[in-house]
């Protein structure tokens, strides 16, 4: 296999910190350090090993040499993608994204189906004055479980008189996961399509619902003039400024699970917690592994579309067990990937998993 060396692999001193912090190492054959090492040598890496990476970014954030091992892995994946040597489930996701701008290949025309559930009038971005774009993730758009998130946010914004618009059918996958799967060309196309949409409608700020979208828009799109933020940031502002008022109790023991793309990769730790702390009766517990050290749910980096071949105890399951031992009744998340992966495991433990907007909508006056 041939590797591109766009990263700083040669500054790697093989300290092993990447492996030591990797949420997949020890339980799966993924050894980040070894992959970087082999990359230094141009030696063979077993293809399948590359797909264990969840793109949580822990190795990259912590690497003392700033080698960006995640990027090394994405580069190597991209070699596989170029050679066409990828699993059918990943292939399907990519082809679907090419075709319908979402990895499930669901009709683009149904992208804004959630809007009907909101019960409020949702404008197209072109019909708005402030050009504040609410950008949903493909997951929000097509997973019925996650519809509630854009629905809640649009309700909250509408009731608070905050203008926003959506792209509707024109909305297009942000490509965060696509880039991490290694399909750089497709990522570029998605980026171009999105940017041309933003330009066409003179979008001024983008309210993202998924940390994954926020991440790529902020870091990989080069949009210096656009303000990109996550909805927890806006919600906290709204609470702090009294635009929305919390009027009811939420008498439960709650733990907030930091999504990798919001937390460790983008440093947004406090806003979601502020929101939860401002709710009467809610007892906010902390996972031992929280904030920068939050345990990856394993939803990202294409893992949503690709199941690795070894079987092991999933992080989501471990996470739910941690919550169980803490006595948590509700795990609160702010990322659709986390919502889906954790909820799947939490059902059996009798723990609820909720998006933070779901809680907020419950306690509003």
């Amino acid at each position: 296999m041939e590797f591109t060396n766009t990263t700083k692999v040669f500054t790697c001193i093989q300290c092993g910190k990447c492996t030591g912090g990797c949420p997949e190492s020890g339980r799966t054959p993924l050894n980040v350090r070894l992959i970087v090492r082999k990359n230094q040598f141009g030696a063979q890496v077993k293809n399948s090993h590359l797909w264990y990476c969840t793109s949580c970014g822990t190795c990259t954030v912590r690497c003392p040499r700033d080698v960006k091992p995640s990027e090394v892995i994405f580069d190597m994946r991209s070699t596989l993608v170029e050679s066409g040597d990828i699993s059918t489930s990943i292939q399907k996701a990519l082809e679907n994204t090419f075709l319908q701008k979402n990895p499930w290949g669901r009709a683009r025309s149904k992208r804004a189906e959630w809007a009907e559930k909101s019960g409020v009038a949702i404008k197209h971005i072109s019909d708005t004055l402030e050009k504040r774009l609410l950008l949903s993730c493909c997951v929000h758009a097509y997973d019925p479980r996650c519809h509630v998130i854009p629905v809640n946010i649009s309700k909250l914004l509408t009731y608070s008189g905050i203008e926003f618009g959506i792209l509707g059918e024109e909305e297009c996958c942000c490509g965060n996961e696509i880039r991490r799967i290694g399909e750089k060309g497709l990522f570029e196309e998605l980026r171009e399509e999105n940017i041309s949409n933003f330009n066409r409608y003179d979008v001024r700020e983008i309210l993202t619902l998924s940390p994954h979208c926020m991440n790529t828009l902020k870091k990989e799109y080069n949009l210096p003039k656009l303000k990109v933020y996550h909805y927890t940031q806006l919600l906290w502002d709204m609470i702090r400024e009294g635009v929305v008022k919390i009027g009811k109790d939420y008498k439960k023991r709650v733990a907030y699970h930091d999504p990798c793309f919001l937390g460790k990769q983008n440093g947004i730790f406090e806003e979601p917690r502020y929101i939860l702390k401002s709710i009467e009766g809610l007892e906010l517990l902390e996972f031992s592994r929280s904030r920068e050290n939050s345990l990856c749910c394993e939803g990202g980096g294409g893992r949503m579309f690709y199941e690795v071949e070894v079987q092991y105890e999933r992080n989501a399951k471990i996470r739910v067990e941690e919550a169980y031992e803490l006595g948590v009744q509700t795990i609160v998340v702010s990322c659709p990937f986390c919502l889906m992966t954790l909820e799947e495991q939490a059902v059996e433990k009798g723990i609820e998993v909720k998006d933070i907007s779901e809680i907020l909508v419950e306690v509003l006056e």
Binding site: T11, I13, Q14, C15, G16, K17, C18, T19, G20, G21, C22, S25, G26, N31, R33, L34, T58, C59, R62, C63, P64, R65, D66, S288, R289, R291, E292, N293
Partner: protein, 897 residues
């Protein structure tokens, strides 16, 4: 040859070595050190590698040598702030920070530390131990003088101290509560108050009235915070001080707050104190007038019990002038303190006051508290508007009266009872008939059955500023009643003075010299309500304490002290308020927890409940004095310093001096691993840094050399190397050079001190350069220390300790190792101050911030006449540092001569 003068910047091993060598060569040296003591990092180390010599033993003599050498001028707490090179001389301005302790007077005795309520992390012990705001960093400090760590001035005027009749150090104990030291807070309170628990419940808190925080939002709930301190202290555990008994006997008449306070203070001073009390139990009004729901008697008894333990004898059921005469007492005792209080209820002097069912307020309360059965009937009316009236009404309610009313002739504004008490009363369902006055009591069969009342209106203000109530003619009405309690005030009962030379004032109080508390009879003092008329508990205590001081002086034949009653309190100015609001914002007062009205009005359970810790800390940190770092200028140190060395007015100085050359030996900083969240430093208290480990293992450290963490001796250790070294992300790509070896040293210390310990060291590659180092590394391994190649990715919480996740690179296996302690071998960072120094001296630094030197000579810098040695130039070990100091001196001499 002209005398040469060299400035050495930095008092660590490099600076000390350089200074000592320079004076050897006849050069005069000024050694400036930014810290209060010289010694640098090396003095913090336990042992040095690879020889495992005691670091303190090696360095201390050199430090002493510096102190003793007349040719070394030592300036501590100092740093150069301006350097100008003129021809071959450097003009240097040195900022010498105020120490607030006169170095010449200070003997280093350490008395000042003990009273200081401000605990701070000890820099010497890397925060593992505490020091006070006034402190000497470590016993071997040079100079061995106290320093006050004053960082900013107190934003408030500390009126609370002034307003308190006994000058309680309120900011001090609030600070201690804030710092989770309620026991220390209690001790501080107790240092001026023998009845803290009582005051914590019933004091009228004049401190709160003048609290500057009240100028901003709400005054601090000081009394409740005192209550918190009291609740968190078991008085039974309070040790009896060593008392030097004398032969002198003092009689105290009346076991109320004044008497108790006086007895306490005199007993501590060694006097034989006998307290005469008419009632069956000591306590006075505290015992017999203040209701149980405000002050549980058990609390009072515990405080009195402590006074008994001090040797005070109580003679109860002994009424003066009845059971024993005053002259008799004066004859038997060397001094007397009269504190009988004001026990006689005032009368209304209206018709029917003698009827059955008409009771005096204080009499009523006493009856109840003696345990006598008092029938109040269904309808009870209390006449009066003071605290006694309120107490009577609430007691009557608790005794079963269904309809309790207070009749008061003025409006609520004029009511002298405390706001809080009035609120509670109304909450409990007592009605107040304002602007109403009784005209006469009408009886049936000799028992009161009705009151004829009349409505009042307010007229012109009287002398005391309150508006005079005037009867509204023809507004008379009848009020049916079963019991009437007249609580319109008390006066002292001074009948016992008959036949003595003592006399009373016109208002019936005992005549004393107000400034000394002595009566006209030498040796007979008086205080409390008997002198002042009904006042507050803390005023009585203050009198008792003042009397105690003067009784002591009297008995020792000293001149009596005169006490000024004047209180100066200062409000914040508008600008100050604005500034403080901006800085700290509005903070709501933490609500004082109390029993709900329906849960309390039928019983005598204590109404107020104490704060829990969280509430107390939250409230205490509102104190403006608690908002500042360092000294809060509470005055405790000053009180204790015998040589009066404390000087809060001291100012920073700038010393200007010329030098022929400079040697920079500013040393280094240690990487702060807080940002490496993955290691949990700051989150888990068993993750420590290597320098903290040094302190922990050092005999001069906080544990005296026992490696104890969280009260336990850890068995499993994990040392992580290269934390903050070879790290691009923090801009430190270099190897810190010393970590491999000092970690090996730590590992061997653990193995040596904890026999069955398990020690892991993780490393990237082993750097053991230097003579004997390789052998040292080998011997450490032979001791059973397990070296793992690979740096852990994270430290997470395990079932029974911390789990270190590390890839053993040599096997490619990810290991999750459970340990008790993780020690982070933090790397070397350039000293923060070097950047400033570089700016003022034009000294060039390398890309990391170390002083750039010529390649062939490691001490020659980019500026002629300025030399460098030690870590300021780059990471190196102690032998190299000392060697480089020598080289710097040699280069310097070469330059100078």
């Amino acid at each position: 040859m002209m005398e040469k003068n060299v400035l050495v910047i930095g008092g660590g091993i490099a600076g000390i070595s350089a200074a000592l060598e320079l004076v050897e060569c006849g050069i005069k040296v000024t050694l400036v050190e930014i810290n209060p003591s010289i010694g640098g990092r090396m003095i913090q180390l336990d042992k040095t590698f690879p020889t495992l010599d005691c670091s303190t033993c090696t360095l201390s003599p050199k430090m002493v040598e510096v102190a003793l050498n007349k040719n070394i001028e030592l300036l501590t707490l100092a740093k150069p702030i301006f350097v100008e090179k003129k021809e071959n001389r450097f003009t240097v301005k040195i900022l010498k920070k105020a120490r607030y302790v006169d170095e010449k007077k200070c003997t280093g005795c350490g008395n000042c530390f003990s009273g200081c309520p401000v605990y701070m992390k000890s820099e010497f012990n890397m925060g593992l131990g505490e020091r006070k705001a006034v402190y000497i960093p470590f016993p071997q400090a040079i100079p061995n003088k106290a320093t006050i760590d004053k960082r900013e001035s107190r934003p408030c005027k500390a009126n609370c101290i002034q307003a308190c009749p006994i000058n309680t150090n309120v900011p001090g104990y609030l600070r201690l509560i804030r710092d989770r030291k309620p026991k220390e807070a209690y001790i501080l309170i107790r240092s001026t108050n023998p009845l803290p628990s009582t005051c914590a419940r019933v004091c009228y808190a004049p401190c709160e009235d003048v609290c500057n925080r009240g100028d901003m939002d709400y005054p601090i709930a000081i009394r409740h915070l005192k209550r918190f301190a009291v609740d968190n202290f078991t008085i039974e555990d309070l040790p009896i001080p060593v008392i030097q008994k004398n032969e002198k006997k003092v009689a105290i008449i009346g076991a109320g707050p004044a008497g108790l306070a006086c007895a306490h203070d005199l007993a501590v001073k060694g006097y034989n104190v006998t307290v005469f009390e008419a009632e069956t139990e000591p306590g006075g009004m505290l015992r017999y007038a203040i209701p149980e729901y405000r002050l549980p008697k058990s609390e009072l008894r515990r405080e009195i019990q402590y006074i008994r333990k001090l040797g005070v004898e109580f003679k109860c059921n002994t009424k003066i002038g009845q059971d024993i005469g005053l002259p008799e007492i004066i004859r038997q005792f060397n001094a007397v303190f009269i504190a009988v209080g004001a026990q006689k209820p005032l009368k209304l002097n209206i018709e029917g006051e003698k009827l059955d069912g008409v009771l005096g307020g204080i009499d009523f309360l006493k009856m109840v508290h003696r345990g006598e059965k008092v029938e109040v009937g269904k309808r009870c009316v209390v006449i009066g508007g003071g605290n006694t009236a309120v107490d009577c009404a609430r007691v009557a309610l608790r005794l079963g009266a269904q309809d309790v009313k207070i009749v008061y002739r003025r409006s609520r504004e004029e009511m002298p009872a405390s706001e809080e008490e009035i609120d509670d009363l109304i909450e409990e369902g007592v009605k107040i008939e304002f602007l109403t006055s009784p005209k006469r009591f009408i009886g049936r069969n000799g028992k009161v059955s009705e009151i004829e009342c009349v409505r009042m209106e307010l007229g012109e203000p009287e002398k005391d500023g309150r508006r005079k109530p005037i009867e509204i003619v023809g507004s008379n009405f009848m009020m049916p009643v079963d019991t009437v309690i007249v609580a319109v005030g008390q006066i002292p009962d001074t009948s016992f003075i008959e036949g003595s030379e003592l006399s009373t004032e016109d208002n019936g109080t005992l005549k004393v010299d107000n400034k000394t508390k002595m009566t006209s009879l030498p040796g007979v003092f008086a205080g409390g309500d008997v002198v002042t008329g009904p006042k507050f508990v803390v005023d009585a205590i203050a009198h008792g304490k003042k009397a105690a001081i003067n009784i002591d002086r009297y008995l020792r034949g000293e001149e009596l002290q005169t006490f000024e009653e004047e209180k100066i309190t200062q409000k914040l100015t508008k600008d100050e308020i604005l500034f403080l609001k901006e800085k700290f914002g509005r903070e709501t007062k933490v609500r004082v927890p109390k029993l709900e009205a329906q849960d309390r009005k039928k019983n005598f359970f204590e109404v107020m409940k104490g704060y829990n810790e969280g509430e107390a800390i939250l409230e205490a940190q509102r104190c403006l004095a608690s908002k500042i770092e360092g000294c809060i200028e509470c005055g405790e140190c000053d009180k204790r310093c015998e040589v009066k060395a404390i000087n809060h007015e001291m100012k920073d100085e700038i010393i200007e001096k010329d030098f022929d050359a400079l040697i920079v030996a500013t040393g280094f900083d240690i990487f702060d691993p807080s940002d490496k969240k993955e290691y949990g430093y700051g989150k888990y208290n068993n993750v420590i840094t290597s320098i903290e480990f040094e302190r922990l293992s050092s005999v001069t450290g906080p544990t005296g050399g026992d490696i104890v963490i969280n009260g336990k001796i850890p068995k499993r250790f994990f040392f992580i190397q290269c934390v903050g070294s070879r790290d691009n992300q923090i801009g430190a790509r270099f190897c810190s050079r010393v970590c491999c070896m000092y970690t090996a040293k730590h590992a061997t210390i653990v193995k040596d001190r904890i026999k069955d310990s398990k020690v892991y060291v993780s490393y990237i590659d082993m750097r053991a350069y230097g003579k004997g180092y390789e052998e040292f590394y080998k011997s450490v391994q032979e001791e059973g220390v397990i070296y793992i190649r690979g740096i852990p990715g994270e430290v997470i919480e395990g079932r029974d300790g911390l789990i270190v996740r590390v890839e053993d690179i040599l096997s490619g296996e990810l290991r999750e190792i459970e340990v008790d302690v993780v020690v982070l071998a933090c790397g070397i960072r350039p000293k923060k101050e070097i950047f400033e120094l570089s700016r003022i001296t034009n000294l060039e630094l390398d890309e990391y911030g170390f002083v750039k030197t010529e390649s062939h000579s490691s001490s020659i810098t980019s500026v002629q006449g300025i030399f460098v040695c030690g870590m300021a130039e780059g990471p190196k070990d102690i032998p190299d540092t000392v060697a480089q100091a020598g080289e710097a001196v040699a280069s310097c001499l070469e330059y100078l001569l």
